[in-house]
Each structure stands twice: as C-alpha cells, then as structure tokens.
C-alpha cells in the first residue's frame, strides 16, 4: 500500500489478513488525473469475495471515482485492476452491477425499467418475467409496476435501482451513497435489500458517510483521504479505533485539513 504520508498510516490488520484469502477484485497502484489534478494516487484495494466493504472518507476524497474505476466505467492512468485474478474484461463487468447516488431510471414504467435491464443481459420470456416479479416483490413495488419510474418517491426510485441491479444476478454490487437524502424507513429498506443480497453471496462495495449505516453494514472499510488510502481494516477497527489521522478526524467529527493541521481553527491560526 502506498505511504500516504499521514501521521499513522495503518497496515491491514492480522485478523483481516486471515479473513482475506480470496480477493474477488483487486486494484494495485491506481492513479487517475483530471483537469491537471491527481485525484487518485497509487490506490491499492482488495475486495474479499462475499464481503461487505465500505468506502469512506470526506467529500472529494475520491470515493465515487474509485468505484467507477473498479467497475470499469473509467480507466486509470496507471495501475491494474484484476477480477478473480484475471483482467477486468467484459465478462467481469457483466458480473458486476452499480447503483448510483442519484438513481438513473429510464423514462419508462417501473416494469419496463426492469425489463430493459434483464433484456440487456439476454433474458427473455418466462425467466425474465419471474425475475421481474421477484424484484418487484422484494422492493415492495408490485403495486407500482405500471407507474412511470420517474414519478416514484426518492426511496422508491432507489429501491427500484437496487433491485434492477440485483435482478441481473451480479457477483459484486457497487453502491454509491444509495441512501443519501433518504428518510430512515427508505434507508432501512435499502439496507435490508443489501443485506439480503449479501446473504445470498453477493459481494457488496458501498460508499457511505453515515456512521450508523457503516456500523450496520460494514465488514471491511477502505478510508480515503485526498485520493490516497489513509486506512483499511475491519469495520470495527476503523470505525471504533481509527489509526490514521484522517479517519480519526472523521471519527471525531473534525475537518481534516492535512498532516500538519489538526483542526480548522489551527489552519486559520485561531483558537477555539
């Protein structure tokens, strides 16, 4: 792992090492630049098969960018991403799905949105119908099947986006802040869908800023700060006893401004 230059860079814990014999997805030395700025710098990531990995960090840390790179939506300037030891090719992409922070729904009915996703995966006829019924039932959207997807509430739209992704039977599901701006009931519904999918063996990689959600869903945590991995480890360790200053600042609710600055007050020379 790249030395991020933080005061206490954390190495993967021994317990985590023992839990990670079989990485489903691995990235080594990922570098990404845009607009002359290095947004990710030497990021190493290892996602265990069947795990629930949280990607955390402050705004602008590069979390969404990392997910897009891992999903193959964009390509790194440097570094390699491997899927079950092989290259991240078309087959690997087909085994992944992603739910975006703002659900992207087609200008069609709920039913047609599901039908489209499954058709793209080559499903037709009774098998597709069965999967659609199951998806609608699991999301509690049966009664809204014929509604235009875009008139659904935010929570319903996100549930549809999640079950649409899951209906494609992915091995790995990326979720980019799927519950941002949702009420507690909708958040719980999404979390249930995620946990059920994980119980069926779907590997989960999820971005969240929500501490409660991190505790409820997290097994592993990757903590990013300014485009570098500040800390990785088990959720219990990183969330309760962070070793790096950026993760500690997040834990304490402080704004991290750099390795030599511990608070906003110090940065501006003020005392609080």
């Amino acid at each position: 792992m790249r030395d991020a230059g933080f005061d206490m860079p954390a190495a993967p814990s021994a317990s985590r090492q023992s839990l990670a014999p079989e990485p489903l997805l691995e990235a080594r030395g990922l570098v990404f630049e845009a607009g002359g700025q290095r947004l990710l710098d030497g990021v190493d990531v290892s996602i265990r098969k069947g795990s629930r990995t949280l990607v955390m960090g402050p705004n602008g840390a590069g979390k969404s960018l990392l997910l897009r790179l891992l999903h193959g939506l964009i390509h790194p300037l440097e570094g390699d991403i491997s899927w079950q030891g092989g290259p991240l090719g078309k087959q690997a992409r087909q085994a992944q799905a992603m739910v975006f922070q703002r659900p992207v729904l087609l200008r069609r009915s709920v039913l047609a949105n599901l039908k489209f996703a499954l058709s793209v995966r080559g499903l037709r006829g009774s098998e597709r119908a069965r999967k659609i019924d199951a998806a609608l039932a699991s999301a509690g959207l049966d009664h809204l099947a014929k509604r235009p997807a875009r008139v659904l509430s935010g929570g319903e739209q996100q549930r549809l986006a999640v079950v649409r992704a899951l209906a494609c039977d992915p091995d790995l599901l990326f979720l980019d802040e799927p519950t941002a701006n949702l009420d507690p009931a909708s958040t719980a519904a999404i979390e249930n869908l995620v946990l059920e999918a994980n119980a069926r063996g779907v590997t989960i990689v999820l971005i969240t800023h929500d501490s409660g959600q991190a505790h409820r869903l997290g097994e592993d945590v990757i903590f990013l700060q300014d485009g570098v991995v500040a800390e990785t480890g088990s959720a219990r360790q990183v969330l309760n006893n962070p070793q790096s200053e950026p993760a500690r600042a997040w834990h304490d609710g402080r704004l991290y401004l750099g390795p030599d600055t511990r608070s906003l007050a110090e940065k501006s020379g003020r005392t609080v």
């Binding site: 939506l73 087909q94 799905a97 992603m98 992207v104 793209v120 995966r121 997807a149 875009r150 008139v151």
Partner: protein
C-alpha cells in the same frame, strides 16, 4: 381596409365551400410534406443519435456540418436537385423532375439536417444522463441508440415538428423541381406565390389561412402530447 376584409371573407368562403381545387392543393401539400418529413426522420433520427452518442474521427466536423446545413438555402437545394434530375443529370433516366417525388426529395434534403442536428443535441443530452448506467448494464451500441431514441421520443416529436414547419412553408425548392404544374405539382406555397402574382388574392389568402391553420393544429397536437408526457414523467 375594406378590400382586405372582403378578400379575407372570400378566402374563408372558399375554405368552407370545400372547393375541390383547393382541397387537391392542400392534399398534395400534405402528402409531399409528410412524406418528406417521414423520410427525413427516418434518416435524421438515427444519424443524429449516432453523432450524439458515439465518438469517432470527424465527429466534430460532421456535427458542425449538420448545424450549418440547417440553414441550407432552399433555392440552392432546388437547383442541385433540378440538375441531378434533369434529362442530362445523373438521375435523369428516373424521370422524376416535375413530379411530387422530386418535391419530396428536395424537401427531404432541406429537412434532414434540421432533424439530425436537433436530434443530436437531444440525444447527446439524454446520453449524458444515461451513459454510466448503460455502461454499467453493458448496453450495446445499437441498443443504446434505440433506447435513447425511444426515451427521447416526445422531445423528438418537437424535432419532427420543426422539420414539418420548415417543409410545409417551403416554396423555392419545390417551385424549381416541381414546376408548379396545375393538378400535378401545385402545392399551397407555390399556389400562393402564383395567385398573388396573378392578383387572385382570395385563393392565395384562403391557402394562407389553411396553411396557418394546419401549422397551428399540428403544433397544438404535438405540444399537447408532449405536455401529457411531461405530466406522466415520460419526457
């Protein structure tokens, strides 16, 4: 002023009397215009969508060209089509000059860049919204274009409407390639020009009223359809 009202009254009398000559001209105008717009959409929708979605060498040049051709002078199109279809032209053996087919070809050439350029913009905007989701789902190139066209269908109706507006009001090109032959290639716009020059203002104005009424009706229908789609969140 009295003269104007008397001409206008006469024009409405002609319209309400369902004058056979008038109906024939209106019918041919609609046939030529709708056929031209149909074929322009058939070419312009996929062409615009492809330019809007895919990145390929020369894309910017093609995009600029389509935008520039939106202002194609109809008389120039008429002249080029005339030269192509005239007896000594490469398409002369088809004997299409001075037929409604020639008028359809000319109108289609005028309308296609409008449809394609506007479609490119509409589809490009929609693709910006859908691109990551499509990439995540693994949507293929053809499915992507078809899906974007389908989801933009109500906006594309407005694009087709823009093409219809341009075609139905066109006079220069259809006059050159159609020749304004009575009972053969005489359409509303060419008749208005002819009858005005002859001083037969009643018929000219009657056709003008019909032309406006058609334009209003088509626009109203498309806007109502679009509004209902917006209400249903399909647009």
């Amino acid at each position: 002023m009295d003269g104007f009202w008397s001409v206008l009254g006469g024009a409405f009398a002609l319209v309400f009397a369902l004058d056979p000559d008038l109906l024939e001209i209106i019918g041919l105008s609609m046939r030529v215009t709708l056929t031209a717009v149909f074929f322009a959409c058939l070419v312009g929708f996929p062409l615009g969508a492809a330019v809007g979605v895919f990145r390929f060498p020369g894309r910017t040049i093609l995009s600029v060209t389509l935008n520039a051709l939106m202002g194609l002078p109809p008389v120039v199109v008429g002249l080029v089509v005339y030269l192509m279809l005239s007896a000594s032209g490469p398409l002369g053996p088809l004997r299409l000059l001075y037929t409604p087919s020639a008028m359809i070809i000319a109108q289609m050439i005028i309308v296609t860049p409008i449809v394609a350029a506007l479609t490119r913009q509409v589809v490009e905007d929609l693709n910006r919204e859908y691109a990551e989701q499509f990439a995540s789902l693994g949507v293929g190139a053809l499915d992507r274009v078809l899906s974007l066209l389908w989801d933009a269908r109500y906006t594309l109706l407005t694009v087709a409407l823009a093409g219809f507006g341009r075609a139905v009001a066109e006079v220069g090109a259809v006059l050159i390639v159609g020749g304004n032959i009575n009972h053969v290639t005489r359409v509303m716009t060419t008749t208005i020009a002819l009858e005005t020059s002859k001083g037969n203002l009643q018929l000219a104005l009657a056709l003008g009223v019909v032309l406006l009424a058609i334009a209003f009706s088509v626009t109203a229908c498309v806007m109502a359809l679009k509004a209902s789609a917006v209400r249903a969140a399909y647009a």
